[in-house]
Amino acid sequence: MRLKSAQKVHYDSGPNMTPLVDIVMVILIFLMLTGTFALGEHFLQSNVPITSKGVGGVTPPPGKLPDEPLEIRVDGFTAKDQSGQTVDMWQAQAGGYTVRNDRKVLAEQLNKMRIAWNRNNTPTEKIQVQINPSRITKYKHLVEVYEAALDARFTKISFTTAH
């Protein structure tokens, strides 16, 4: 038995899409291999790289009153956790208070200090927070302290030379 459909002539209507698909696929593979995406990075901005504790201090321009300094002394150390493993920790001292490894508590303490300064007619933008770390303090801990100062709504934050 002969199939009727086999006898029918095939009319290819429309443009040939095969070369287009080939080129588009090549472009797609190229983009997928060579492209790098913007990573989930964000930045903590400081307008003063490092404040004076010896070398490299920033002197205010003549006629301008220097900002009120608020020093946060940060020390890094290691301690054993509940499972007996050694972990890196930090301790911050500011205004007579000491906070260990707790960013939220430090932020609350700094916020209280900021409010007290504001009550004494010192606006927040005139307070220069100076993070004074020890040489062995880990960078991640400094970022935590920096964030605590940001949480407390301080706007001017910088690092000092190590103690």
Binding site: H42, F43, L44, I50, R135, L142, F159, A162
Partner: protein, 162 residues
């Protein structure tokens, strides 16, 4: 007169139109999102500290990325991309002493070309401050106006209070 009839066309090919639609969407997505041939000089091996606060860089083209790593002798070591050299490869600036003269010269030269540039500090989260400090001193001595500490975004878990 006999009427001529067009035979019915039999489409032997698969319909590629949806495929082309999807692929075109993907290409447009990649072209918009991917950065091809653009390098900021950031060392991807550096594990950045996590942070919740922080902002996106508004002017990323106006920055110099300083990667701070431990050198071969455990000294602070900075790599950065020199804009004057076309950004082909990372330049190395060893900081054997706290003066950091090669880095200072580089930063001063860059500032001479562009007074408003910003420095991006990229350092490993477990790096000691003693490695970062000389770089900050160099930035101050070179009168860099803005320093941006690169961090990675911490995933926030939002729980609703009852």
């Amino acid at each position: 007169m006999k009427q001529l009839k067009m035979p019915a066309a039999v489409d032997m090919h698969p319909n590629v139109t949806p495929l082309i639609d999807v692929v075109m969407c993907l290409i447009i997505f990649y072209m918009l999102v991917a950065k091809i041939g653009v390098s900021t000089g950031a060392e991807r091996r550096i594990e950045l500290p996590k942070s919740v606060q922080g902002n996106k860089l508004l002017d990323p083209g106006n920055t110099i990325t300083l990667n701070i790593i431990k050198g071969p002798r455990n000294e602070p070591f900075v790599t950065a991309m020199d804009p004057a050299k076309g950004g082909a490869r990372l330049e190395e600036f060893p900081l054997l002493d706290a003066s950091g003269k090669p880095l200072l010269k580089f930063l001063k030269r860059v500032r001479g070309q562009n007074n408003e540039f910003k420095a991006v500090i990229r350092a490993d989260q477990n790096l000691d401050y003693s490695y970062i400090e000389p770089v900050l001193i160099c930035c101050t001595e070179a009168q860099v106006k803005s320093i941006n500490f690169a961090t990675r975004q911490e995933e926030q878990v939002i729980t609703k209070g009852r």
